[in-house]
Symmetry: D2
Subunit: 366 residues, 4 copies
């Protein structure tokens, strides 16, 4: 797949200075299909250069292509086709609607619209067909060109990746999950160091609710313009641990059709989702890395697998209470946030669902 430089799609990042916003910038600054043309932030930062407005966390220096970019206010009059939203959950709702109404394609990492019945909650490997909701969305909301597509909560993203092949092959009955979530999930300044160091905090506001509900929507069926939730139970215990990035999860799963650990591993290893078939730029190969070691995946060691887009799974074994149990790990601000949104956009581009003056399918040639 080849996209010539002059045909790159102009994109923007809403809320570009925060922890997730920076991950969007990192993912887009040299993207083969997208031209990062717009960075927005709160009015306090608007008008300043990105270099001044942003306390860059990811490396010694802000990437040079954006260091002098002028930060714009978060208003739906920016010069681009697609916006990626790293806005905080409590502000994202109406702002994202305004952008969609103004004709932008909105790819949101915020939770505001995830549970709207007409908004796809999307993992390209898991439920690409849920993009069908966008037709309903536009019809119901009176939008012609704009739309909102969301990616899930970070912990739910990696869990759903691991569950999808099991759900397809064996059927899920119930899932009991305990998360050990890295500090970057709380944003910046986020968790005070006096609370983080030498401690575990067994609570993250709203997290367990998202983790109990989002996978059921993503693994649900699209029927006549709406999603029937998948019929299984999820119970979550969410914890903050003093690791910088990476969410580790222990999972016990009861299945409709019994499976051995080896059969589960085969389900993961033979999984061939659409983004990998399409060769989307951000799609990891393989999407799920099955670790054979007795003590892996580990947060620090494995979080960069597949450039942060793969989910690592290990310690697959029978569960004394459910059927099988295992450990999974993913990068919370890449697969769990910015990278997820970018992959969503790549999927829609590849399927000709995003574009303005010419069809996106023309834009992309093999």
């Amino acid at each position: 797949m080849k996209v010539t430089k002059q045909r790159k799609i102009r994109v923007g990042v809403l809320g570009a200075t925060g922890t997730v916003g920076q991950r969007f910038v990192e993912a887009l600054v040299e993207h083969p299909w997208f031209d990062l043309a717009v960075l927005t932030a709160s009015s306090a930062s608007a008008g300043r250069s990105y270099g001044e407005a942003c306390r860059w966390q990811l490396s010694a220096d802000i990437p040079s292509p954006v260091v002098d970019a002028v930060v714009q206010p978060t208003e739906p009059d920016v010069d681009c086709e697609i916006v990626f939203s790293a806005l905080p959950g409590d502000r994202a709702g109406p702002v994202e609607e305004a952008f969609a109404a103004a004709g932008y394609g909105v790819f949101s990492n915020a939770s505001a619209h995830r549970q709207d019945p007409d908004v796809p909650l999307l993992i390209p490997e898991v439920n690409p067909d849920h993009l069908g909701l966008i037709r309903t969305q536009r019809a119901q909301r009176g939008w012609t060109r704009g739309f909102i597509a969301t990616n899930p909560n970070c912990s739910a993203a990696m869990l759903t990746m691991a569950l999808a092949p099991l759900h397809a092959v064996f059927g899920l009955k119930s899932v009991l999950v305990t998360t050990m979530q890295g500090l970057s999930g709380a944003g910046y300044p986020g968790v005070p160091s006096l609370d983080a160091l030498d401690n575990v905090i067994p609570f993250i506001g709203g997290e367990e609710e998202k983790l109990s509900s989002e996978p059921r929507k993503m693994l649900g069926q699209l029927n006549e313009g709406k999603i029937d939730l998948a019929d299984f139970l999820i119970s979550a215990h969410c914890n903050r641990v003093p690791a910088r990035e990476g969410h580790l999860e222990t999972v016990s799963v009861a299945l409709l059709r019994p499976a051995t650990p080896q059969q589960a591993i085969e389900a993961w290893q033979t999984w061939r989702p659409l983004p990998q078939e399409l060769g989307l730029p951000s799609a990891p190969h393989p999407p799920i890395v099955v670790r054979p070691e007795p003590d892996r995946p580990q947060t620090r060691v494995d979080r960069q697998a597949g450039r942060g887009m793969a989910v690592s799974v290990g310690r697959v074994r029978p569960c004394e209470v459910a059927d099988i149990k295992f450990v999974l790990l993913g990068h919370n601000t890449i697969r769990g946030a910015a990278g997820a949104s970018v992959l969503n956009a790549e999927l829609m581009v590849a399927q000709g669902l995003v574009g303005i003056s010419e069809s996106a399918s023309q834009r992309i040639s093999e």
Copy 2:
């Protein structure tokens, strides 16, 4: 309860220089009933002062009463009645037997004999009646005065404390537990800092097996000199996290007779175990601290509850998959190791089961 100084019982610590050994010394150096008279270590350390042989971790200075004590080899000819064993699991087995055969009361933190059918695996709050096994033990092994009593694995200790009142009141069907265990549980030098910092390791050798089996023995019934295991299932996921001390556990429990979170809290708060009734010196009041805050217990904040002997419980709520779920926390090297053993010894002293020239019941006066 009052024990005059001249009647203190002479005790020793086997393997006194390690992480758990130091906790034994800390617990015993000013104990009201025990006189810490013997410290043993490997032959490399024997003959040196404790101050020289031990890399003390717990405070700036080794307690002055033991700094000049001469470390003795771990041989069953030391001058005391009771020994506390902090020996490593792979060496503890025959050494503890030799001490018991020589007439010592052995209180062991090692796993070697925990599953022996004639050895009590004891938590004084939970199964004090299991001391009845000592009669069987002596009969079968031909020991007249010596014996072995063990305390459980650290993670199992706190879990079983929290489960005991639920088991008594509602009956347990199954338990799904994920642990987040502090670094001191691996001893010294233990976990390399390059593995610990900014990481979670989802594996601890042998831990899940212990956690799946020990609670069932402790919550079992003593019948005609043997224990019938309690009839419920436990599945464990054990993880090492970068906290210094304290093991946090998330627990989902299915019950025989349904209970609300509030009923579970009442079961914990109305629990009146024997050590608290007897006023044993190391018994915490209350044995289980129920935290009302939404984000507690936390490892660093709550591990010292009850001077490290209490178990803190919080976030009690309905479980979508089982019946109720909650978080618990305990201090792994105090309630989970040295403090547990010392409390075992206090129980036997209070019940007149330990003593030499005169009955222990005489030794202890109200």
Copy 3:
């Protein structure tokens, strides 16, 4: 020295809910001479119980004597004689003056008045005679009973403790110091965990200036109601490190009269300051702990020396550039903050300088 309960002096803590405020509460809640009668905080917290208003950091539970105390606004009409100020530096100045003008003895941990020429900057071991400034202060400000006495910046407190005996015996020419300061020094929420973990930050706002100037005032001479600064140079490099509490400092000192490391050690070990002679309740014995080990003092291991009030010194050796070099450590929120202020108050009580209806010397009997 004995103070009967009915004669305890009523004291208050201004800004009682913060990191240093909590250390004041901890130090005062069971103090033999003081009755902790007043807790103040910002108007947002006033009227609530201390248990509700304060996010207690120091142990599982807020000390029971204060948990239900009603927090008062920080106004100079509280019912006590002495107030300890844990107010932030930018607000402390006028508030402390208002309290002093209203007749309260103000013991301040804030930097606002430290460099006022008529305000003593006090370490009871180092410059108790500087209390003579209070006469000047009252005369100049028209205060009859109230006053302000300050304790130094945390890093300066421990450095000055270690320098004082060297200054007295050998004379100081220059001091080059690098600090490695724990996170609690920044208060709560303070340093974000994303900045703290796996990092060193080589900058702490205002710290190097304080560290360069405060020791020279404390080691200066009181002459006719004013302080002549000590005549030596200090250069400081201040760094934030991911340790919870404790400030470690490496120090190279040039002396007027050359000394060997052994002579410096003797100067520390033979130092007999006034608080220790008077037996003040918070005075550590010894005030300076000289560690003989090659790798001590260490932050975590030694910060509690002397219940956080001692300064530990080690690795005393010749310096290739100056004369001698060494490492020192102190507890930043105890000796470096709340404990320092409490010791100041104890000194003034013991010297009969604080009291209302009867002389403080009567109040205190041997």
Copy 4:
């Protein structure tokens, strides 16, 4: 500069499984001039695949080109021209000599031969002319083709980089340095986590001695086949801090000819060393990054500057005791170890000093 693939020089790594050995593998596995053909380790690992023998720390997976490579014993009969030595200091001495005697070019990170009068202690940016010692070395030791070239101690490497332009322009009189060194400097398993977490250890065995002597050799003059040490004093305080990688150093410098901070900055920014002029593959551009922010460089944020090969300098300001003071940071296992050795080899290749059948100058074409 272009090197065709068939002309790559075969190289090996001695001690390839340790912390520094892994950094060598990382630096060499896709190197444009070198073909990583040999990996050696202790006899316990020899014969196993590198994937089995090595506990890889740097990413999720061992680089695929070496995962199946068979580890060889560390004997001077391996099939390559150059060996990089990551051997531990106590074993490196005779082994490296044996390799050099057998004709290999030995680039060593070990300290064993650094102070040999006929062995260059090399930083290509600082003292490339010291390679002239190799002629002396061969003559004295009777080696015809082999040789030993060493890189400095990690802390000395970055300090000397920063000092070199100051020495050249202003002349050095004395240097007082305090280091805050990351954990990886101690190798694996290295520092136990119980010693590292929430702590600073003010001692690293042998480090202060190296830091006081090595810069004087590197900044010395080559005269008639031997080095005259540079004539200035260094005093070092070395500390271990709980950061993963990166050594931060605070430095106070007295100069022969006074300089302002701005003049020092200009000396760094106008420095044009040989490796950058030659375009050596591992040479960073610029070699010294001057940070303008008030709180930089920081360990985590800046250690990867120049792919770990640059030294970052900041907070340049007048020193109250010396002339100027500043902070510097470098990556200890890249610029301070493996990367340094690889750059040494690149320099010798570029200068035609390494090669076998044809001259290296032929081998390398612009």
